[in-house]
């Protein structure tokens, strides 16, 4: 009640709304371009907004954040290049759907469920910030490791018919993430003598290469089939139909918000986990998963947008950023002389309201912009490939270069393009690689930390696995692993048990 009273004046403040709108429009634009990440946009904004009032700065940044996370889905759906790691899962069903001429439908679903996810996450943040922080604090290194492993195992089975091949892709991703300085001991490893690799493999160039450049190579390899212009089904999409997925999306939102609240996990993990759940609970998808099921888009988009609210929670309550963007928001607080931390929710209440109100207004803009842009932008799919592909290549180069300003990253992007191309030709899915890349470092350091912590206790095994959260995660992970192995599958099928 008090919260509503707090945000109402802001929600009706025209100046505040105007700044959110500026942010939202830039977010739409930046997020949709592969390689230009939301965190980069926010970082740029901070440098512009530091002389502004805190409320204006917050409004703009929340606009960029919320809409930017959503608009990663646009390029994912239309050209199979996710704008950011968290949109990777959206490509799985979004692109096939738009290839079959239903880009508009895919975009409408993505818009609505991004909206629902964002609102859900922010509302939860408004109400439950305290309890969720307490829960996130209970996660020990071993739990982070198992959570990451769980994410990877479900993924392996999701994106490919061959379970092993999916897992191999995930392992390839982990391998690449291990290259560079080891974050615990600070020594270089697996750099193969290349000085530039010491800083590790940056995510964005790898992502742009694996999806963008590899896509170009694949299309070129298969021969361009221009001429037959796709008929765009711009049928009227009934809201009632869109909302049929609403009850299930609540589950994805819960997953998204909670995963978002765990520092270090974030959007990619949430969307993969939600997609895994979707595959399990949706018995009769509109089309098979991976071939354009709107249910898949719903899962991915509602989860990754729900992450926003989640990621803001530890930032507000502990001054610990949940992801790259919240780290930047944190810096805005510092620049404006505020001191986030455990007492912030009491002392900085007005800024809490600003974030909440800014986020909620941004959600409205997300919906408006999404529905406004969707019919126009869905025609991109009809631009002739011979015109589109060179532009995509140039965009890939810019995206790879822009985040660290190293030409080496452009070379890495080309390398990952080739890797992605070859793997695709051999039937290895690409999506798990990105997840492995995002999670590998976290798995490695947390695993060693867990072992190191346990090694000094009298009973190492108990101290490693003896806690309730760990036990639950362990059971989930092991059952996910076993449930997908061919041997167990056969056994279960014999006994007529459905998993």
């Amino acid at each position: 009640m008090q919260t509503i009273q707090g945000i109402l004046p802001l929600m009706t403040d025209l100046r505040f709304i105007f700044f959110v709108m500026i942010g939202a429009v830039s977010g739409l634009f930046v997020g949709a371009i592969p390689g230009l990440s939301v965190s980069m946009a926010t970082a740029l904004l901070v440098s512009i907004t530091y002389t502004w009032q805190t409320s204006d700065a917050m409004a703009t940044i929340m606009g960029v954040y919320v809409v930017g996370v959503f608009s990663g889905a646009l390029s994912a759906i239309l050209i199979n290049i996710p704008g950011a790691p968290s949109s990777v899962v959206t490509t799985l069903d979004g692109y096939p759907l738009s290839k079959s001429g239903n880009a508009y439908k895919a975009l409408v679903y993505a818009t609505w469920y991004s909206f629902i996810g964002s609102v859900f996450g922010l509302v939860v943040m408004g109400i439950l910030a305290g309890p969720i922080t307490a829960m996130a604090l209970r996660f020990h290194p071993m739990d982070y490791f198992l959570l990451a492993l769980f994410g990877l195992t479900t993924v392996g089975g999701l994106t490919s018919r061959n379970f092993s091949k999916g897992l191999v892709s995930a392992c390839i991703g982990i391998f690449f993430s291990l290259i560079g300085m080891d974050s615990v001991m600070g020594t270089p490893r697996l750099t193969m003598g290349i000085q530039n690799l010491k800083a590790g493999i940056p995510t964005v160039p790898a992502l742009v290469g694996l999806f963008g450049f590899a896509e170009v190579l694949t299309v070129v390899c298969q021969g361009i089939t221009d001429g037959k212009v796709l008929r765009i089904h711009q049928e009227k999409i009934l809201l009632r139909e869109v909302f049929r997925e609403f009850p299930r999306s609540m589950l994805y939102c819960v997953i998204g918000t909670f995963v978002g609240a765990l520092p270090g996990a974030g959007g990619p993990v949430a969307s993969f986990l939600a997609y895994g759940q979707a595959k399990r609970i949706v018995r009769h998808p509109s089309r098979p998963f991976g071939e354009g099921a709107v249910e898949g888009i719903v899962a991915s988009e509602s989860a990754n947008n729900a992450c926003i609210g989640g990621a803001l929670i530890p930032m507000l309550t502990l001054a610990i950023p949940g992801d790259a963007v919240t780290a930047i928001i944190l810096s805005v607080f510092y620049i404006h002389g505020l001191q986030p931390g455990p007492t912030f929710l009491k002392t900085g209440k007005i800024h809490f309201y600003e974030i909440l109100a800014g986020g909620l207004i941004a959600c409205v803009f997300l919906l408006l912009l999404g529905l406004l842009v969707a019919p126009r932008i869905s025609k991109v799919i009809n631009v002739p490939k011979r015109i589109l592909l060179p532009i995509v290549v140039v965009l890939c180069v810019i995206g790879a270069y822009a985040c660290n300003r190293r030409v080496f990253d452009v070379e890495l992007m080309f390398f990952f393009g080739i890797v992605g191309f070859i793997l695709r030709r051999r039937g290895f899915p690409i999506a798990p690689i990105t997840l492995g890349l995002v999670l590998g470092g976290m798995m490695d350091s947390n695993f060693r930390r867990a072992v190191s912590l346990a090694s000094t206790t009298p009973n190492p095994i108990l101290s490693m696995f003896g806690r309730p959260i760990t036990v639950i995660l362990l059971i989930l992970t092991v059952s996910a692993l076993l449930g997908q192995t061919p041997v167990v599958k056969k056994l279960l099928r014999k006994k007529n048990i459905s998993v």
Partner: protein
């Protein structure tokens, strides 16, 4: 036509927000690399200093966290960047130990100092519901059970590690686990993964106030004005004043050695102005941060302080068998 209009409008709006195009130094924005995670002490002070510097130079200093590997990744990035002053480095002490620790080939010699800004005192904290209420109880337990009382630290060669080595010299052997940043360290304490850590005061001040963390001791030689009852560690360990009085977290503003002299000069003058900024001074005093720019006012002072620091800590690490290479290999004399 309509589409063209849209694009033009979009570009217009975006260029409006982003302000003017780049001009001469100081550029419209200068990147300040902070080679540690957000929320750590280097980050906190760095951001405050960035704001103050920005005011003086009439530009924006954008702090950029590039954490990992005891700060070496961010330092390397600062060296690799264009050497036109568009990238500056705000870092803690680890530059002095990276070579002997085999973390990197970097040292203070690769950079030109602009200013030694601050030293954040280290404090020993346990979680709010910990069974330890005094430093004596904690120390007694560590002594009675070597390698079982768990402590989190920020990685080999970092200030947490160095102080733990000093404790080792007095026969206290905690069980140590490395985390990737200062905030991870005290979070590990708060979530009871480990028993204690030695954090920088400014990062944990609000947690001590809120009761999430308990302050047991100041890991130095002097008590704090805010907490007159909390003992300094040197009171508990005999003859440790010499080792404990060194500023273990000297935070400095540096640029790559090859940055043109006149730009270094500009930055130096700006820094001298920036430390007079009332907001900055208030921040330093509120958090009990030692003003190193008063202790080492000239560039010569700073350079000789780096030399002394490098030699003391490098040999401390090497003698404790914690360093990979002998400081001798790099021509670092014994203190």
């Amino acid at each position: 036509m309509k589409k063209v209009c849209w694009v033009v409008m979009l570009i217009a709006v975006l260029s409006m927000i982003s302000g003017s195009v780049l001009a001469d130094y100081p550029f419209s924005s200068v990147t300040m690399i902070i080679p540690y995670g957000a929320g750590g002490t280097t980050d906190l002070v760095g951001r405050q200093f960035a704001t103050a510097l920005g005011k003086v130079l009439g530009t924006t200093f954008v702090p950029e966290n590039q954490g990992g590997a005891s700060g070496s990744i961010g330092c390397q990035a600062a060296l690799d960047a264009t050497k036109d002053g568009s990238v500056v480095l705000f870092t803690a002490e680890s530059l002095g130990t990276q070579r002997v620790m085999d973390i990197s080939k970097l040292s203070y010699a690769d950079f030109s100092p602009i200013m030694a800004v601050a030293n954040d005192p280290k404090v020993i904290v346990v979680s709010g519901d910990s069974k330890y209420d005094t430093i004596d109880a904690l120390l007694a337990d560590i002594q009675a059970n070597p390698y079982t009382v768990q402590m989190s630290y920020t990685g080999p060669g970092g200030s947490g590690h160095v102080q733990a080595l000093i404790m080792n010299q007095y026969n206290y052997f905690p069980a140590m686990t490395a985390y990737s940043g200062g905030s991870d360290c005290y979070l590990a304490v708060m979530s009871n993964q480990v028993v204690f850590t030695n954090s920088n005061y400014s990062t944990v001040a609000s947690y001590i106030e809120s009761g999430d963390l308990k302050l047991l001791a100041i890991a130095g030689t002097e008590r704090m004005a805010q907490y007159p009852d909390v003992p300094a560690l040197s009171e508990k360990m005999e003859n440790s004043e010499k080792l404990l009085s060194i500023p273990y977290t000297p935070l400095s503003l540096l640029v790559a050695k090859d940055v043109p002299e006149d730009i270094q000069e500009q930055l130096r003058n700006a820094a001298l102005e920036a430390v007079k900024d009332p907001d900055f001074v208030a921040f330093m005093e509120k958090n009990n941060i030692e003003k190193l720019y008063e202790k080492y006012p000239t560039l010569e002072d700073i350079r000789s302080f780096y030399k002394q620091w490098e030699s003391t800590v490098s040999w401390l690490l090497y003698d404790a068998n914690a360093a990979t290479f002998s400081p001798e290999e790099f021509g670092i004399p014994r203190p």
